[in-house]
């Protein structure tokens, strides 16, 4: 709505300021309550009822400070007395430090952190083993090379990141703020600010620390802040200074008092404290505190007391990293790594056993054997040297073989995988197709280690509001006093938002309170305009005579309702904590806000107590129908209630969000009674939240129903297509929503989730028994429908159209009985037969419960997508969590692994990037196993010809560089860049996603096939040179060079054979690696101190060398090539066919196209 051109307003608001001055004295008598916010944990209602301000829903992800402050949990802050404040307790100063290292601590700390990873410890252990003289297989330099290499790369990366953090810390710490020192405000660096100091902030300045407001430029003590840096919400939030501190001017008079507040915590929506000032005790809530990182807006200045500083501020406490998850593929891979470890141990054992046998057989000769010479005869009494006895020799042989064969366990794979994931993330972030214009947000990869999981998702759990829909609310129609006004033809333009209005209703609203009907309309819109927490802002436009009114509020529903009220002439133009001013067709009316009970998720309603200009006191309540009808006096106006209920039903079946409005006039005694209770409750120290709720419940009773409003939440662009694609990809989409069943079903239809072909099974139960029964019935029915269709299917022989898909609709009440009971099993059984599951009226924890239910019972991957705080638990529970960075706060994004702007991006994310990532990663893992095993086996075969003494013909440097330089770059490049199919094909045939479900890129069959291939290739690479140089003068370094080059060329060509798309980068990586290997081998052989000096030049000068290379490569790759070809040609997988179709262009014959257009009906469900 920000995009509406400002000059579309036709009405202007000339005099907002005139009425501002007239704060009545009557009001100040009533101690103005602050709107107190309440933080609850757990079941916190659905978004539909989020028509108050931030309710409990938003505190979901945070630790909660529900308890009242006890002494040991409290912080005592003496206002304007930092010395006293800080003398007893060590409160953090305001300098922050996000950097991890300093110059001195970098080396030890960085190393310490790096060695937290298993991979590096493995490297380290191997390197340390190698340093023992008895085990020195490789030279010192060569043996620590791999470890040094990875440590260096990581350290450089960390150092650079930390340097950037240092720089930003320095800038942040040296910013200036006005601090009260000796009676005047002086500039002070942020880092020197202490808790207890009084700070003055001007408009558009950023807050240096968390502070309690004392006074502001606004006479009523209001300050507006923008919290975009904190939670990403761009709307302004209202914060209040306490009445008692408003008049203080700390420059002139000393402010005496202290604040007792809770310990620092991460909850940015909760704060509890008491302030004692001038002997009076006041309670402070979250609306009295402004937090570090916020910006002061629309307020000339604000003065406050610092209560949390530096790292104790809520902003710093919240800056935590992304959650860490482990990908399914990696978990699977670890199984194979264990198999490889067993191989490794087997190889080492074989070597040790043979070595033992050899030693045993030659035990008598060892002393003088020219190549063993156990005894040192240079001394008078010959003694053993480098011989530690039979047992030790065998043990050392075993350890040495572990050192030599270390790369059998491809530890470097973990590092390669990290690099590949970074590269994949780069492409996902940069994908223009996943950029959202509206919110100007790119795709975000928050978790870096589960990219490939995106290719195997089987279940998608989606939130509705804000995820499937835009969460941009539009007022659609209203039912007032039993009359439905939904003829929406007239259109008038209103401040910053167009509201379609009903002409008849508009007329009625204009006429005012003359008629009975008009009176109800008046009350209704008064309720809409007043019963909210919206703050109106007057915005200047280019035309000075026209002013715009902008409603800033925390809930889109409230905004829509306020705009609607404005459109009908009830324009809220000013709100302070004590009163509101409503412009009623040009006539300003002033209402005293005597009390406000904010929305909470238990009551699911909010209420406001207004003192009207005619001295009457009214309570207006607005809330969800379920809770509203229970507080409405059913004896009054039965027919109105009934018709309103009917209208509600019809609205919600249109997919509209409904709210019920009720009111009641209070007589004096009622008001007094409420007022005392309210004042007591809101200053209570213990259990304030509960007390306030009780007060609210008392006053919100015996209401007269006024009517109901209906707000439309439009479907996001492309949602039906996206859901269709996901369904074609055999992904099950479950929608979990807090909305009413009718709303959910109608959204289900409009998003193509439900189709007319589907049979709906609805489960609404109120007890466990009935729940069990309906589940049993449903299972029987679903079975009949699915199996029956198979029978008819086979008889008729037509393809699939007869299957009756089943959609399950279950509500939150039933889920209460199902979850965590034995019925879970039943529900899962039923749900797995259904193609669609819709859960309505579910609470956030139930959402997580459903995800957990599926996760527990299948090995399939789950993905949860949502935008609000109520989705956080589900996002964290699912294997992959996706946050929509939309209208609501950023908590879903903060908890998610991936974040994006629109629901429809799920399709490219899963079907394209997920598919690619999975294919790439699967191949990369297998290839790395193969690559390392080939080399290890070549080393192993040679060991059999060296008395099992772990000599390597291959130069020690080459064997270390093998997995670092010779072969690592191509696999990383291919892992990042290779694409098995184009984006277009993948989007056109969502079924291709099934490759991930069927685990086609990585499974144990492929693993074993690869291992057999590895064995063959290593045999060829080793024995061809061996036999070709049998009985010749060949020396070890020369034949070692041949083996090195053969292995490198072999594995690189093997990779080249499996590359699908050859871009110039792929070419450069693969051929470049081979060239680099040659260069390295030549360089190593050019060092005279190496035993293999000049070997490559000698052996390279003979034709046999080149013939060997050629035949090794061909002979080794022929089986792989033949198997690959036979599979591709005679047992083609879907990907192969699609690739051919992509290359050769067409889908031949229109019969084929027809087949393709048939609906996809769960081919696996039989």
């Amino acid at each position: 709505m920000d995009s509406n051109p400002p000059n579309e307003t036709e009405s202007s608001y000339p005099s907002c300021s005139s009425s501002r001055r007239s704060i009545s004295s009557a009001q100040s008598k009533l101690s103005r309550p602050n709107s107190l916010r309440e933080v609850t944990l757990g079941d916190s209602g659905s978004k539909k009822f989020r028509n108050g301000s931030r309710g409990g829903a938003d505190s979901q992800g945070f630790s909660v400070s529900q308890k009242e402050i006890s002494d040991e949990d409290a912080r005592l802050i003496y206002i304007n007395d930092p010395a006293r404040t800080n003398e007893k307790f060590e409160y953090a100063g305001n300098s922050i430090r996000t950097a991890k290292y300093s110059v001195f601590t970098f080396l030890p700390r960085n190393l310490f952190e790096q060695f937290h990873r298993v991979a590096y410890i493995y490297f380290l252990v191997i390197a340390i083993l190698n340093q023992l003289p008895q085990l020195a297989v490789f030279g010192r330099g060569a043996s620590i090379l791999p470890l040094a290499f990875v440590l260096l790369v990581t350290a450089v990366k960390d150092a650079y990141e930390d340097y950037r953090r240092h720089r930003s810390d320095r800038i942040e710490n040296n910013r200036l703020a006005l601090v009260l020192v000796n009676g005047e405000f002086r500039d002070k660096k942020w880092k020197d600010i202490e808790v207890g100091e009084i700070i003055k902030i001007h408009a558009n300045e950023t807050l240096p620390c968390d502070m309690v407001l004392l006074s502001t430029s606004d006479p009523t003590g209001i300050a507006y802040v923008q919290t975009i840096n904190l939670d990403g919400e761009s709307n302004l939030k209202t914060r209040y200074a306490k009445q008692e501190t408003l008049s203080k001017t700390p420059e002139k008079e000393k402010v005496n008092g202290f604040i007792k507040c809770e310990k620092p915590n991460r909850n940015i929506y909760g704060f509890q404290a008491n302030m004692e000032i001038d002997g009076k005790r006041l309670s402070l809530g979250p609306s009295n505190i402004i937090l570090r990182g916020c910006e002061l807006k629309n307020t000339a200045w604000a003065i406050g007391v610092a209560v949390h500083a530096g790292r104790e501020t809520k902003a710093m406490l919240n800056s935590s990293g992304a959650p860490s998850k482990r990908s399914r593929l990696e978990t699977r891979m670890n199984v194979e790594i264990i198999i490889l470890s067993i191989f490794l141990i087997a190889l080492c054992s074989i070597v040790s056993v043979f070595a033992a046998i050899w030693l045993r057989r030659h035990r008598d000769d060892l002393d003088t054997l020219p190549f063993y010479r156990r005894k040192d005869f240079s001394e008078a009494k010959p003694k053993n040297y480098k011989y530690y006895g039979w047992g030790w020799e065998i043990f050392f042989t075993f350890l040495m073989s572990v050192i030599v064969f270390q790369i059998m366990i491809p530890i470097s794979l973990y590092i390669s995988m990290e690099l590949v994931r970074v590269g994949q993330a780069y492409f996902m972030i940069r994908d223009g197709g996943m950029y959202d214009e509206a919110s100007n947000s790119r795709f975000q990869c928050r978790a870096l280690n589960i990219n490939e999981d995106l290719g195997q998702i089987k279940y998608v759990f989606s939130d509705k509001t804000g995820t499937l829909t835009e969460n941009k609310m539009e007022f659609r129609c209203a039912s007032i006093w039993g009359v439905d006004y939904s003829g929406m033809d007239g259109m008038i333009f209103r401040p910053k938002m167009i509201v379609r209005t009903d002409p008849e209703l508009l007329q009625l609203a204009k006429v005012g309170r003359e008629s009975q009907r008009g009176k109800h309309v008046y009350d209704f819109f008064l309720a809409l305009a007043s019963c909210n927490t919206i703050v109106p802002f007057v915005v200047d436009t280019p035309d000075p005579s026209v002013k715009l009114i902008d409603y800033q509020g925390e809930s889109p529903d409230e905004q829509a309702l306020a705009y609607a009220a404005a459109a009908y002439g009830f324009m809220l133009i000013e709100r302070t904590s004590g009163h509101i001013i409503i412009d009623f067709w040009g006539e300003k009316q002033r209402f005293n806000v005597l009390g406000l009970h904010e929305f909470d998720s238990d009551r699911k309603r909010m209420s406001v107590i207004l003192g009207c200009p005619d001295k009457s006191v009214k309570v207006f309540v607005k809330g969800a129908d379920t809770t509203m009808f229970s507080v409405i006096d059913r004896t009054l106006n039965k027919s109105v209630i009934q018709t309103t209920e009917g209208h509600l039903h019809s609205y919600s079946s249109l997919g509209l969000r409904t709210l019920v409005v009720g009111m009641r006039e209070l007589n004096n005694s009622e008001f007094e009674q409420w007022h005392f209770a309210f004042v007591d409750a809101s200053t209570a120290l213990m259990g304030r939240a509960a007390l306030l709720r009780k007060v609210a419940n008392n006053i919100e009773s015996n209401l007269r129903v006024l009517g109901a409003s209906a707000i439309e939440d439009k479907l996001q662009q492309g949602v039906p297509d996206a859901i269709e694609s996901l369904r074609m990809a055999d992904i099950k989409v479950w929608v979990l929503t807090g909305d009413k069943q009718e709303t959910a079903i109608s959204i289900g239809y409009s998003s193509k989730l439900l189709t007319s072909k589907m049979t709906q099974i609805v489960i609404n139960s109120n007890s466990k028994e009935s729940c069990r029964k309906s589940l049993d019935d449903a299972i029987v029915m679903a079975k009949k429908l699915t199996s029956g269709s198979i029978v008819s299917h086979n008889m008729e022989g037509s393809s699939g159209a007869v299957i009756t898909p089943v959609g399950l609709i279950i509500d939150g009440t039933s889920l209460v009985y199902v979850l965590d009971s034995e019925l879970e099993e039943q529900l899962f059984k039923l749900a797995s037969m259904c193609s669609v599951v819709l859960c309505c009226r579910v609470a956030p924890l139930q959402k997580a419960g459903i995800v957990a239910l599926v996760k527990k019972r299948t090995s399939d991957m789950t993905l949860a997508i949502g935008d609000g705080a109520n989705d956080v638990s589900m996002i964290q529970c699912a294997d992959v969590g996706v946050g929509i960075s939309g209208q609501e706060g950023r908590q879903a994004v903060m908890a998610s692994d991936f974040a994006m702007g629109q629901f429809r991006f799920l399709v490219p994310l899963l079907l394209v990037h997920g598919h690619w990532n999975y294919q790439r990663m699967g191949y990369m893992i297998l290839y790395n196993f193969y690559r390392n095993a080939v080399f290890v086996l070549i080393l192993f075969w040679y060991v059999l010809f060296t008395c099992f003494t772990l000599t390597t013909a291959i130069n020690e440097w080459s064997s270390m560089l093998y997995s670092i330089i010779y072969t690592s770059v191509p696999t990383i490049v291919v892992g990042i860049l290779d694409k098995d199919l184009s984006k277009r094909t993948l989007l056109k045939h969502p079924q291709l996603y099934g490759a991930g479900h069927r685990q086609e890129a990585y499974n144990s069959k492929l693993f074993w096939l690869t291992m057999v291939d590895t064995l063959w290739q290593s045999v060829v690479a080793f024995f061809v040179p061996l036999l070709a140089y049998w009985n010749s003068t060949i020396d070890a370094p020369s034949i070692g060079d041949l083996w090195t080059l053969a292995a490198v060329i072999l594995v690189n060509l093997h990779l080249a054979m499996d590359v699908v798309r050859w871009t110039w980068i792929t070419h450069a990586a693969i051929w470049g690696s081979i060239v680099a290997t040659w260069i390295c081998v030549v360089c190593i052989d050019a060092i005279p101190m190496m035993p293999g000096y000049w070997a490559i030049f000698h052996i390279g000068g003979t034709p046999v060398f080149w013939w060997c290379l050629l035949i090794i490569v061909i002979a080794a790759l022929v089986p792989h090539f033949v198997v690959k070809f036979i599979y591709q040609y005679y047992f083609p997988c879907d990907i192969q066919i699609a690739r051919e179709a992509e290359k050769f262009g067409n889908l031949r014959g229109h019969g084929a196209i027809e087949i393709e257009m048939n609906p996809i009906l769960e081919p696996h469900q039989r």
Partner: protein, 351 residues
């Protein structure tokens, strides 16, 4: 916002000037959208069959050529370790060879079967000698061989590093210590065949690895004599037998070049070889052979590569033919969507 820092390096700066907020839309590039021009080869039957036929066509001639070259090499191999022990001590080879007084001279007669063109290479072949044993290969010090400054060798050379009175041994280590010391003298029809022992070691080793100012010192002075002794007045760079021996063989059966005979030998020539049978292979059951061999462009006599090339070439031709047959009998149209699994499933129900 958490992601702002992370993408600050990105190309977000292409926003139109009238936009107040910088557009964070990713800059389009073929690279970032993964649309780089690429070649997408597919294994079509045509390609595969062509590839196999060409491998066959190339490999079979190579195989034939190598086999032919190998066949042309003339090789005389004579195992002498058993026969050069006097009959009476034939079951105590070790005792005989360790007896310093015993006469080790041994005369062998070899008959040339085919004409041997010069140069004829003379090798000794030892088997069961693990020159690649870990203890053995490590037992050398390349620095010491290179320069007299590094006389005091590293501990790698143990136990042949210092004499009992602490003098450094040059060249140190087991490899040098166990140097081969049999000698051969050849004559045909009582005419001495000169054996050229110059240039048998690698030029690179002579010039850069073994110092021209490093002289043998205290060599073979210990209690146990391992093999040959060195003339301490000749620098290491000219001790070619040593240099040859110090190139560790890759395999337990190996040949090393002894010298070159630079005259042609005619068929039925009888070569008389006078062998000084000094080297002790009896202790580890190794055998010693004398080898005379000509060379071809493929090196020595070895049929393996020829056979391998023929096998692989033949196999590829066979595969090509069978693929052609299968292709003719059961072709599959490429890229036919009716083979897609979801279409196949639907079609499967029809049957």
């Amino acid at each position: 916002m958490a992601d702002r820092g992370g993408t600050s390096s990105g190309g977000g700066g292409n926003g139109a000037p009238e936009l107040a907020k910088k557009s964070r839309k990713p800059k389009y590039s073929r690279f970032s959208q993964q649309e780089l021009p690429a070649c997408k080869p597919i294994l079509t039957p045509g390609w595969v069959i062509t590839a196999f036929i060409s491998i066959g066509v190339i490999f079979i001639p190579i195989g034939l050529a190598s086999l032919f070259a190998s066949q042309r090499v003339v090789e005389i191999v004579d195992r002498y370790d058993r026969d050069c022990i006097p009959r009476n001590v034939s079951d105590d080879g070790v005792g005989f060879i360790e007896d310093a007084k015993a006469n080790k001279t041994c005369v062998r007669t070899l008959t040339v079967q085919k004409q041997m063109k010069s140069p004829i290479y003379v090798y000794y072949q030892i088997s069961n000698f693990y020159q690649n044993h870990r203890r053995y290969v490590k037992s050398r010090d390349d620095k010491q061989l290179w320069s007299p400054k590094n006389e005091r060798s590293s501990s790698d050379c143990k136990p042949e590093d210092f004499t009992s009175n602490g003098q450094p041994i040059i060249p140190c280590g087991l490899i040098a210590w166990s140097m081969f010391n049999d000698t051969y003298k050849f004559s045909v029809k009582d005419k001495v065949l000169e054996v050229n022992k110059k240039g048998i070691a690698w030029k690179s080793d002579r010039e850069h690895k073994f110092g021209s100012d490093v002289y043998p010192k205290n060599f073979q002075s210990g209690a146990l004599i391992g093999g040959a002794k060195l003339n301490s007045s000749i620098p290491l760079s000219q001790q070619e037998d040593l240099i040859v021996w110090m190139r560790p063989a890759a395999l337990p059966t190996f040949r090393k070049l002894y010298g070159k005979i630079e005259v042609d030998l005619e068929p039925n020539d009888n070569i008389t070889v006078i062998i000084e049978n000094n080297y002790n292979t009896y202790s580890f059951g190794g055998n010693k052979k004398l080898v005379l061999s000509t060379t071809s462009w493929m090196g020595g006599k070895n049929d393996f590569l020829g056979v391998a090339y023929l096998t692989i070439g033949g196999l590829c031709l066979f595969l090509a033919i069978s693929f052609i047959l299968v292709y003719v009998l059961k072709p599959r149209p490429l890229g036919d969507p009716s083979y897609l699994s979801w279409n196949r499933n639907a079609a499967g129900h029809l049957n």
